[in-house]
Structures are given as C-alpha cells and as structure tokens.
C-alpha cells in the first residue's frame, strides 16, 4: 500500500502534510481506508475548531462500522473538505489526495516532528 514520503503519520492511521503556506493537511491513510472498507459518511468539525494533538475531530463511517478520527497535531481548523459530504467514497479512492479531511493551522511545528516518518509508518502496518 502506498505510503507517500512527503507526509508524516500518526499511529492511529492519520496522515499530516505540511503545505507551503505553513498549514497542515490531514486525512486517513490508504491502510486505514482499506481496513474500513466502503466509506459512506465523514463527519468533520466546524472551521475554527481548536484541536489538541490526539483529540477526536470527527467520525468516518463505513458499511461495517463508525470510527473516530484523531488530530495528528494540535491546531485550529481553517478548512474542511466539503466535497466529502456528497462523495465520501473519495476517501477510498484517493485517501492521500482528494480524500483529505482537514486543513489545520498548527499550534507549533514540534507536533509534526513527533509523528512517524513514512518508513516508520510502513514498518508499523507491516
């Protein structure tokens, strides 16, 4: 399963990608979407929500089950992917592209450093 090297990873299977403007894009990994199966609904927070690292920011639902989503880094939500309301299956087909969930303004940059590298995440999922 692809684990892009330009992202950092949480053990709870979210990815975080630093954008040129300093914001951080967040979603779930290919491994996570594959484990969940057909994704039918994504519940995301309001823009402006302030999240602590590891805090639940929403829910991803598949035919099988509903699972919590966790913020990989602390920050303020500056944008959510509204397209997922109508097309949640994008998380299945393009989890680290069009299936992004949140754009965060990170509280600090140390949070990203604490996450797993692509190699370390690859080792975690085996």
């Amino acid at each position: 399963m692809p684990v892009p090297s330009d992202c950092k990873y949480a053990k709870s299977h979210e990815w975080a990608k630093r954008l040129p403007d300093g914001a951080v894009l967040v979603g779930i990994t290919d491994y996570a979407q594959h484990s969940l199966g057909d994704i039918t609904y994504v519940q995301l927070p309001q823009v402006g929500a302030v999240l602590a690292a590891g805090e639940s920011f929403g829910v991803v639902e598949s035919v099988k089950a509903a699972s919590d989503l966790y913020a990989p880094v602390a920050g303020t939500v500056v944008e959510v992917n509204e397209a997922l309301n109508a097309a949640p299956e994008t998380v299945n087909t393009d989890p680290q592209g069009g299936g992004w969930m949140l754009k965060l303004q990170p509280a600090d940059l140390a949070g990203l450093d604490a996450l797993l590298s692509a190699d370390a995440y690859q080792t975690l999922i085996g």
Binding site: D38, T40, Q43, E61, V63
Partner: protein, 365 residues
Amino acid sequence: MPALKRTPLFAFNQQHGARFVDFGGWEMPVQYRSILEEHRVVRQRAGLFDVSHMGEVEVTGPDASRFLDHLVTNDVAKLFPGRVLYSAMCQPDGGVVDDLIIYCRGAQDFLVCVNASNTEKDVAWILQQAAGFNCTVRNLSDDFALLALQGPASAAILQALTSFDLGALKYYHCAAGTVAGAECLIARTGYTGENGYELFCRPADAEPLAVALLAAGQPHGLELAGLGARDSLRLEAGYPLYGHEISATITPLQAGLGWVVKLDKPAGFIGRDALRAQQAAGVPSRIVFFRTGDRRIIRAGTPVVDAAGAVVGEVKSGTLSPVLNEAIGSALVQTGAGELSVDVRGTAIKLIPVRPPFVPLPPKS
C-alpha cells in the same frame, strides 16, 4: 474457540481477492472489491454469491409432507414436486426457531434449506419433533455447496451453461438439471429481490461450476458478490434475517410475515395456538422498515425514541442503501408509537416509515 468452517469455494474466493469474516462459525467472503459496488452490480447486471454455508436438511418418507406441514407455519400440503416454499418454523410460544425454504423434489422427498448459524439447533429441533412420524431426517449440509446467481442477467448467463429450459422454471420452483457438466438442483429463488437462481451442487463440483459461471457471465458484467452486498440487498428488498427481524422472541406476525402463517390449515402446526392468540390480541410490537434521508448508518441495537423521548423500540438492521444513497433499516417498535427517531452521535434523526421494498424490484413470475 473451534476453527472456523470453510466452504468448498474457500480457495477460489481467496484467489479472487475475497475479504473474509466470521459469519455464524464460517469463514465467509464479506466482499471481493466493494460492498456498495457489488450491490449495484447485482441490481444492474448480475452477481455470483458463495452461500455454501447454508444448511441443508433432507426429509424423506411416507410422512415427510405431513410432518413438515406440522413443523412449519406455511402450507406444505399444497407443495408438489418442483414447487418451493418459504416458511417460518416456530416454537410453541410463536417465537421463531428459524426461517427456511422447502424444495419439494418428490412427493416424499424434501430438501429444507436453513440458516448456517442455526443448522445444528434446527436439526436437533426437527429430529425431536419428528418422533412419531414415518420419515427420515438427515443433515446433508456437508454434502451440498450452494451458489446464488442473482440479477437481471442471471437467466442469460445460466442458460448458456445448461440445456435445461430456464424459461419453464417459474419463481419459487426448482428442477434437477446439469449446469456446465455439474448435476444441480436449480431453483428460482434468492435473497436479493432480483430475478435469479440458486444452484445446489456437490462440494467437488462447486469450483468448476463457479469458474464456468464467471466465464459465461463475463460478457454480461457478472461479478462475485459477498455477504456484505447480500445483506444490503436483502434489506433493500425488505426480507427478514434471522436474529434481526425474526428471532426466538420476535414472531412471524410481528415481523410482517403473516402471509406465511396459515393459522387455518387443517392439521395445525407448532406454535399455532400462540400465534392465533397474538393475532387476536394484536401484536405488542412490530418490525417497522425505515429510511432517514441522511447518509449516517443507523446501526442494529440503536434505541428508538418517540416524540416525547421515551424509548419505544430498537433498531434491528441498518445499512446504507447503495441505490437510494441514504440510510435504511428496520426496528422493532411498540405498537401505536407515533413519530420515531434515533440519536446518532448527538444528532436526532427521524425514521421515515417505508413499506418495503425500498427500491423497485422486478415482477416475479
């Protein structure tokens, strides 16, 4: 925990990318590619399901018909060779032991197809009730594989593999026939609401038969479909699933299956008096099918509340209808409860009652 049982198609399913789950003690394919996609393929073209986990019980002998008529709620006496019947099998208190399909192969020869997870319980129950009847009850579950070919293209696909004239086989009828060289009981039955066939065959024939069906189905867009799609298809069609809409504590009358309960058949049946009393008194609670207009799936076990917030029931099945693109389900709800809603993660969602099927289904004849 005992090892999970595997169907004769386990290796075939593995080769075709199946993801497996424990279903009633069986390691079964829940999906091959995508549950939602497999569901739509069955509605639009055709899907092939491995349902070899289902139990088969043979009842033969001079009293076979009379015994089955006593055992189940529907009218077995009207069966004739080649006719198929859906029924409930009840406890004396009207609760359901299982729901089943009876295939009449001969005047004294019946094959009863039961739910996989209930097979052992059913066989014990059937043997116990058969005392005093001149018939033989045998659990032949290990002697049969079962393939379900379902969807609008089913007839064209199957006809390419058999000389048997499928046009002569009406809905809920069956016949012995050879398909791709394999001897089968070919039945016009299924659990999807679509036109389709179920093929009972020898376990050793299951894989070559599945390979032949897939090849014949390729030009028609046939795909393998797993238990995930089977569940959402049956729910869209409004068919009950044992342990959900019917159970030891939910009678067929509560589940809307009054049409298979023949209270007035001459010989009576196990559970008749209790069901007659329930019919007269009115059911205390009943299965209501619902949609929500929202994509959030309402899971089984979710409490159902009325307008005043009092708990008046419980969700029994819930999924996303891949055709309607909204949550659908069933709930056991107190009779007379008004407006119904559920709480999903802090949001109240109204249940909109629906008389199934949820989607237009082809006429059955």
